[in-house]
């Protein structure tokens, strides 16, 4: 779907997505990483549980939401990659723990 063909001068760091370690460039947007990582989606919707992937990459569509370091509904297009970040794809509706 998307690839990163250039040698980057940015430092390569590991990120864990749903338990799998993938390499990313430090400081790039997490949403970009999700768009080049099989199976190419970030969340399923609360209504029909259909798959969504980053669409606008500029903070207005909210389709790139994922669970980042335990925090749900994070806009991954606004989050720069840090080494060791743990990401989970977000499934369906959120729940409030009571």
């Amino acid at each position: 779907m998307f690839v990163r063909p250039f040698d980057s001068q940015q430092k390569a760091v590991p990120v864990v997505i749903d338990g799998e370690t993938v390499m990313a460039a430090e400081g790039e947007m997490l949403a970009s990483v999700l768009l080049r990582t099989v199976p190419f989606y970030t969340r399923t919707t609360p209504v029909s549980e259909s798959r969504r992937a980053p669409y606008c990459l500029m903070g207005v569509c909210f389709d790139c939401l994922a669970v980042v370091d335990g925090v749900a509904s994070v806009q991954t297009c606004l989050v720069p990659v840090r080494a060791g970040m743990r990401v989970e794809r977000q499934h369906g509706r959120r729940e409030v723990p009571l």
Binding site: M1, F2, V3, R4, P5, F6, S8, Q9, Q10, A25, G27, E28, M29, S32, L35, R36, P39, F40, Y41, T45, V47, S48, S50, R51, R52, A53, P54, Y55, C56, L57, M58, G59, V60, C61, F62, D63, L65, S73, C77, L78, P80
Partner: protein, 466 residues
């Protein structure tokens, strides 16, 4: 409590950067806030971390021009609050921001909104499938990650941005299956009368012509006058289908479809603050009503950049300059006559930067199909509400956008109508035979960006500040 700044600026793109730099030159204390972790806005995304390589070469001179202003602003002494989301603004002006885990409030007598534009909502069947990305989004990934799409890539849309993006992608060795040009053929004759006036901006016209020429030279299929597109697939994009005006549907394999139908001012802040807005029929959007200095109908609240109406990066920079001169005058840093004198040259440059706009607006006026999409098209991406459900709700007595919102939940999801607002207004306008200006837009209510209960509970604001 430490004294706050004189001016808060939201948005660190060309307008916000120019305004902040100018105000610092006048000795004004400025706090500049942006969602992104670095300066540049969308047009200069990643400019502070870019290096001199093949990517920067392909992105072009206009992109690289952002590095200088970013460095100057860094050295100006403006307080920068980056990676900070604004979720509420109150009169006074009190701006509530969230930075990582911390929530807080900044206050200032003057607030300048330079938060720019967003891509126009562009609904078509299948636009929610993974693999469908906006052209602006794809360009942001190119700028920030050097990331390119692959395995049949189609671009569908209208306007200068798809042409620029395709030129950049091809210069980097990227491959495209084809370009579906969705600008209606009749636009051309409607744009022609604006051409003589546009010649003042011949440099911009030349740039656009060169992109077109470069695209043609590669031999990539360019299919003109495309009226409708569809994205199909199970869990992700597999096929696209398109139909030229008056033609048959044609299907093609695709893994990525990049779509774009122009940009519109981001009006959520000004709508939420109750500013007067006008419907701009030339750009098919709402824009805040501003005076000569960029001040809205609310005193002390200014707008500069594409949020004031689409004009492009150079116009945004100039509007930032002019607004900063107006703000400095308001703060007593210069007299009325001195401000008028200082603004003379940027105003002249602004007129030049906007010279091609009426021509471009007419040439790339979006096809009507995006405003009244087919019945089963998802209009509200967040709550998955279709065009048919919106029209049905309106028929049941939900006469305006806000009633339709209450009936269907369209506009109630996390994006708060940023992706469906215009479509809902257009659908109602068509059904009720009104102008979109008369139908209006959703009421925009806080929080302007989602904020957790934990964040709200952690908000520490001294009583005396409220």
């Amino acid at each position: 409590m430490s004294p706050g700044p004189d001016v808060i600026i939201l948005g660190a793109g060309p307008a916000g950067m120019a305004a902040a730099t100018r105000l610092r030159d006048c000795g004004v204390a400025v706090t500049l806030i942006d969602e992104q972790p670095a300066l540049g806005g969308q047009i200069w995304r990643g400019i502070e971390t870019s290096h001199n390589g093949p990517l920067e070469n392909a992105l072009g001179k206009d992109y690289r021009a952002g590095a200088g202003p970013a460095a100057v602003l860094r050295a100006s002494g403006a307080e920068l609050r980056l990676a900070a989301q604004v979720w509420q603004i109150e009169e006074g002006w009190r701006v509530f921001v969230k930075t990582g885990d911390a929530v807080g409030m900044v206050t200032a007598p003057i607030l300048l909104l330079a938060s720019g534009a967003q891509e126009r909502p562009n609904p078509f069947p299948g636009w929610t499938l993974p693999g469908v990305v906006s052209v602006g989004g794809a360009q942001i990934m190119l700028k920030t990650s050097g990331q390119v799409p692959e395995n049949p890539v189609w671009v569908a849309g209208s306007g200068p941005l798809p042409l620029l993006y395709m030129t950049q992608l091809l210069a980097l060795g990227g491959r495209l299956a084809g370009y579906l040009d969705t600008a209606p053929r009749e636009n051309f004759s409607k744009a022609l009368p604006h051409f003589p006036a546009a010649l003042t901006g011949w440099r911009d016209l030349y740039k656009g012509a060169r992109w077109l020429w470069q695209l043609r030279r590669t031999g990539i299929p360019v299919i003109s006058d495309v009226a409708e597109i569809e994205a199909k697939g199970n869990d992700r994009l597999e096929t696209i289908a398109y139909r030229r005006r008056g033609g048959e549907w044609i299907s093609m394999p695709a893994e990525v479809l990049l779509a774009h139908e122009g940009v519109v001012p981001g009006v959520h802040f000004t709508l939420a603050l109750g500013c007067e807005h006008d419907w701009r029929d030339d750009q098919l959007c709402f824009a805040p009503r501003l005076d000569d200095w960029g001040e809205t109908s609310r005193e002390g609240l200014f707008v500069a950049g594409d949020g004031a109406g689409i004009g492009g990066a150079e116009a945004a920079r100039l509007r930032g300059e002019i607004t900063a001169i107006g703000i400095a005058r308001r703060l007593g840093k210069s007299s009325e006559s001195e401000a008028a004198r200082l603004a003379k040259s940027p105003r002249r440059e602004l007129a030049r930067a906007l010279a091609t706009r009426p021509f471009l607006d007419a040439l790339y006026r979006p096809r009507p199909e995006i405003f009244v999409p087919a019945a089963e098209t998802v209009v509200c991406r967040c709550e998955e509400v279709t065009a048919k459900q919106i029209l049905d709700a309106a028929r049941l007595g939900g006469s305006g956008p806000n009633q339709v919102k209450a009936f269907t939940r369209a506009g109630m999801g996390p994006c708060q109508g940023r992706q469906c607002g215009y479509t809902v207004s257009h659908l109602l306008a068509r059904q009720q035979d009104k102008s979109v200006g008369d139908v209006g837009f959703f009421h925009i209510r806080p929080p302007l960006k989602p904020v957790s209960l934990g964040d709200l509970a952690a908000l520490h604001v001294e009583e005396s500040a409220l």
